[in-house]
């Protein structure tokens, strides 16, 4: 007899819709779980018990009244704190936004509310989504439910840990260079970065506008696909949003669950091979086993060449900080959030400067400085301009590869969850966590991370990358791999002691 919190989102939705469970019961179960274990895990920055239960009661009333409800109605969800929620504190895990209550909802939050999903609260993250371990949250660290001495990945460590610890069946993450997929990989959860433009960024606190993409976090492909379809689709308030039909990801996840990949061509990137020497052996082994597994499911494995991927990481660390240096300029203490030094003794310029000094953490400052430098006169062509050219080459590598294969597979991240403090001393070692995820962001296509095994007891993820608007194939391949597991990897996480 499984507990409510052990059910998948799809199961919960069906139970609620068909009257076997109320949304209030389901929501209460997750809120109780948060109360029991989040004191240890610290995945949430803010929990909205009353708001979640109020929505749950509305859903229950609607169902009782015989209304038709959406596919995830009544299923509670956690939202990364970089997504703006009306009336709920939103800080992007930064001191500079401490206490700010947004007067509006992000488009994806509007859609979640329209789908009648109770919002449990806001999850922890690296400040402004800059980091790969959630150690750069200005508030506290989030612990990995698999081993509380280790990081839960980042920047979306809170969303991943919340789902891994069954404090939420679903969560929203955002992915700029891997912030959904890498936490997914290291916490044994499923994470999808949709096609850039497939999901509205309106109300998503910008880190790097040309890369940021919100997406689902879940325990399996089908749950993520259901959430993907709730939040996706054209938004006239986001000029970079794509006006095209949402890829049929739910159907693809269901097809994939049949475990048949006959006729599907999957690419492995030749240029990644040389990086495997520096990756963890257990991660590489799990990847190779998955490749064999996919071949057994009928997929044809093809080597593809993407020579520019080698430059993806440095390119990213020019483009993303450049955009961030401009996007974060608005945090100046003038209109909202923290204001420091406003004592009548400091000039306006000094107040702005003191506010930013006090309000931003070390990684955010590092990237603002990096980006400001990369855009400055005399350097912009050599840094930002050159990076844009390389970005074009990376896109071309993908486009060429997708003339040969339907999807590309790789490890999600070169190493499993590391111990706290292991990489904060050397930014580059931290940045390597996103080695395999960044190319997809540079290109704009979809990528999912699906749990495929363990290395020394810690989860390992496989990444499936698709062509722009080909999100469905990534779900299909991931679901096919899940079909080979007797028990979902996410369900083998150590049971946490409630306290």
């Amino acid at each position: 007899m499984s507990r409510i919190i052990d059910k998948t989102a799809a199961e919960l939705a069906a139970d609620i819709r068909e009257g076997r469970l109320t949304s209030v019961e389901a929501t209460t179960a997750f809120l109780d779980r948060i109360a029991a274990v989040d004191g240890t895990i610290k995945a949430f920055l803010h929990v909205d018990r009353d708001g979640a239960l109020a929505t749950a009661a509305e859903v229950d009333a609607a169902i009782a009244a015989g209304e038709t409800v959406g596919p995830l109605a009544g299923v509670p969800i956690a939202i990364k704190d970089v997504v703006v929620t009306k009336g709920l504190p939103t800080t992007a895990a930064s001191k500079i936004l401490e206490g700010w209550i947004p007067p509006y909802d992000a488009t994806i939050v509007e859609r979640i509310k329209a789908a009648k999903m109770p919002i449990l609260g806001k999850t922890n993250m690296d400040e402004f989504a800059m980091g790969s371990s959630t150690e750069y949250s200005a508030y506290f660290k989030t612990l990995n439910p698999w081993d509380t001495g280790r990081i839960p990945g980042g920047s979306g460590g809170g969303s991943a840990a919340a789902v891994a610890a069954k404090m939420a069946p679903l969560a929203i993450g955002t992915d700029t260079g891997g912030s959904i997929r890498q936490p997914g990989a290291v916490t044994g959860t499923f994470g999808a970065k949709p096609t850039y433009g497939g999901n509205s960024r309106y109300g998503l606190i910008a880190f790097s506008s040309s890369l940021d993409t919100p997406g689902p976090v879940s325990r399996n492909a089908l749950d993520a696909a259901l959430l993907h379809e709730v939040i996706s689709g054209y938004d006239p308030r986001d000029s970079t949003s794509i006006d095209a039909p949402v890829p049929p990801v739910v159907e693809a996840a269901k097809t994939g669950a049949n475990g048949d990949l006959t006729g599907v061509k999957l690419g492995v990137v030749r240029e990644f091979e040389s990086t495997y020497d520096d990756a963890e052996q257990g991660v590489v082994d799990a990847f190779r086993q998955s490749v064999d597994q996919l071949a057994k499911l009928g997929a044809e494995i093809v080597e593809v060449s993407c020579p520019s991927f080698a430059y993806a990481l440095p390119t990213y660390y020019l483009i993303a900080p450049s955009e961030a240096s401009s996007n974060l300029a608005r945090y100046d203490g003038v209109r909202y959030g923290l204001r420091a030094g406003d004592d009548g003794k400091h000039s306006l310029e000094e107040v702005m400067s003191l506010t930013r000094e006090a309000g931003f953490g070390p990684e955010v400052k590092r990237r603002i400085i990096l980006g400001t430098y990369a855009l400055s006169a005399g350097y912009v062509d050599a840094f930002y301009g050159k990076a844009q050219k390389v970005r074009t080459l990376i896109k071309q590598d993908f486009e060429k590869a997708f003339t040969q294969v339907d999807a590309i597979i790789s490890p999600t991240t070169p190493f499993v969850a590391f111990e706290f403090g292991a990489r904060t001393g050397d930014p580059y070692q931290m940045y390597l966590a996103d080695l395999y995820t960044i190319p997809t962001n540079m290109y704009g296509g979809p990528g999912v991370s699906v749990p495929v095994g363990l290395s020394e007891g810690m989860p390992v993820g496989l990444q499936v990358m698709g062509p722009v608007l080909g999100d469905d194939i990534t779900y299909r391949v991931a679901a096919a791999l899940e079909s080979t597991q007797d028990v979902l990897l996410a369900d083998t996480a150590p049971e946490l002691e409630g306290k």
């Binding site: 936004l97 007067p103 309106y202 109300g203 000029s239 300029a329 608005r330 100046d332 306006l348 855009l375």
Partner: protein, 495 residues
């Protein structure tokens, strides 16, 4: 401070090079990147939303009407319209700029390579347009507690974001050399022409006094045959007259410095309406690196050629064509028409004619008496407290014989003093022409009796001598008689 040269001394030694940057607020219903209203003069911070306040997470969406208006301006200025254009971020910190970057355009403006021909002293000066681009306005800052109204010395700064995000079109000329002593007039004529063109397009109310047309005047001097000098940029010059004065002042100031062997600093200067002088603002040499880069939140724009041609076909009659038409309709010579244009009186005269008077009557008042009054008070003609309808009424009274020119000038005094319409003023001040024939005949009889020799001459056929008697009658009636009527009575009596 070095003593200023006279303008004549200055242009005898140096050649000015002009450059003009003009910002025009479009009068679209909504802002450039959000749906907020753009009404002028609303309560501070009532026309704002997450986008124009730059709340975290908000995103811009470009206003198509603003893009369309900018293309129209570009077409009217003979520009090429880009087939691929995008916005860029201009990064700098200022509290009236919510995002701390301005969404503008950089290397890919919407319109490029145009020109405007302006006529000064019968000579055509072609002012080349480098670019016309679209951007957003900033908010307005009010610095409280200082003496200058500027941020230095202020104790508080209040910000109104209603203006933040209003679409702004920036029109930049190429450097304009070769205008010599006419530089101030060319600068003024260009600004007036630009204003008239934009007004004719109906995309902005281009009111300099409300800041919907703002002018930055760039000026440098060089000796003939030498390279162009270092330029200064005088900001926010807010009337046509100020444009002219700012150029004149900078020519005088810079020439004096150059004569003294000093160098000109590349700097921003402020124009002072009261004194006609400029003073230094922030120095460009220590100025901001704007770190421009393409705006990743907005899609690239690719105006289709069909759309551009549709807009070209929809352009109204432009001021130059209109002036040619009006010149013909009004039967004015080139020189007179030029005077009308220089006096910025085309619209005033057109409106006066439309109100029912003859073109010659309208031209006479606006270029004559009213221009004189405007010069005396240092105002623009259009700013005088008399409307075209009132001028038409005035001329109508002259045509009817109720006023003569001398009385009409006194009526103008009253209208400008706010005493009401010309009819009101004439009635209140008792300025009507004496049309009582009995009274006039009595006055004529008196004049004949007082000047028997003159009367004899007229009787003898020398009608020109009637002038003496007319003068006497006018004197007797304090000018309130119609000279023509008086003359007729005299001739009737003496023939």
């Amino acid at each position: 401070m070095t003593k200023l040269n006279t303008f004549e001394q200055a242009v005898a030694t140096y050649e000015p090079v002009l450059g003009l940057e003009t910002h025009i607020e479009l009068d679209t219903k909504t802002k450039m990147f959000c749906g907020c209203a753009t009404t002028f003069g609303a309560e501070p911070n009532t026309q704002v939303c997450p986008v124009c306040l730059a709340l975290p997470g908000a995103l811009p969406v470009a206003n198509r009407a603003a893009v369309e208006a900018t293309i129209k301006i570009g077409l009217a200025l003979n520009c090429t319209i880009a087939s691929w254009t995008r916005f860029a971020r201009k990064n700098y910190f200022y509290p009236d700029m919510p995002k701390n970057f301005q969404t503008s355009q950089y290397e890919e403006p919407l319109c490029e390579d145009g020109y405007v021909d302006v006529v000064v002293d019968g000579e055509v000066h072609r002012v080349e347009i480098e670019r016309v681009h679209l951007e957003e306005d900033t908010g307005k800052t009010l610095h409280v507690g200082g003496t200058t109204g500027r941020i230095h010395g202020a104790t508080e700064s209040l910000v109104d974001y209603n203006r933040a995000g209003i679409p702004l079109v920036e029109i930049v000329t190429r450097p304009v050399p070769g205008t010599g002593a006419l530089a101030p007039e060319v600068a003024r004529a260009y600004t007036a022409e630009l204003r008239d063109i934009v007004r004719s397009l109906g995309v902005s109310d281009v009111r300099m006094e409300q800041g919907s047309l703002r002018c930055d005047v760039n000026l440098s001097l060089n000796r003939p045959g030498e390279e162009w000098g270092t330029r200064t940029e005088t900001k926010n010059v807010n009337s046509l007259r100020s444009v002219e004065r700012a150029v004149r002042y900078e020519v005088r100031r810079q020439s004096a410095l150059l004569d003294a062997g000093e160098r000109i600093f590349q700097e921003t200067r402020h124009f002072h309406e009261a004194t006609g002088e400029t003073s230094p603002g922030r120095s460009k040499e220590e100025a901001t690196d704007y770190r421009y880069f393409p705006e990743p939140d907005l899609a690239v724009m690719e105006p289709s050629r069909e759309w551009v041609e549709e807009l070209r076909a929809s352009l109204p009659e432009l001021p130059r064509k209109r002036r040619e038409r009006l010149q013909a309709e009004w039967s004015l010579g080139d020189k007179d028409m030029q005077s009308v244009v220089n006096a910025d009186a085309v619209e005033l005269i057109e409106a006066t004619v439309a109100a029912g008077t003859t073109p010659s009557g309208a031209v006479k008042w606006w270029l004559g008496e009213l221009s004189r009054r405007a010069n005396e008070s240092g105002e623009e003609l259009a700013a005088l407290a008399i409307t075209p309808a009132q001028v038409a009424e005035l001329q109508g009274m002259v045509d009817d014989g109720r006023l003569n020119d001398k009385l009409a000038r006194q009526v103008i005094d009253g209208v400008l003093a706010g005493e009401g319409s010309p009819a009101d003023v004439a009635a209140k001040r008792g300025l009507e022409v004496v049309s009582d024939t009995g009274a006039l005949e009595a006055a004529v009889d008196e004049a004949i009796a007082a000047n028997p020799a003159v009367a004899d001459k007229i009787r003898g056929g020398t009608h020109a001598a009637a002038g003496v008697l007319i003068g006497a009658v006018m004197k007797a009636t304090k000018g309130q008689a119609d000279a023509g009527t008086v003359r007729q009575i005299i001739l009737d009596k003496l023939s």
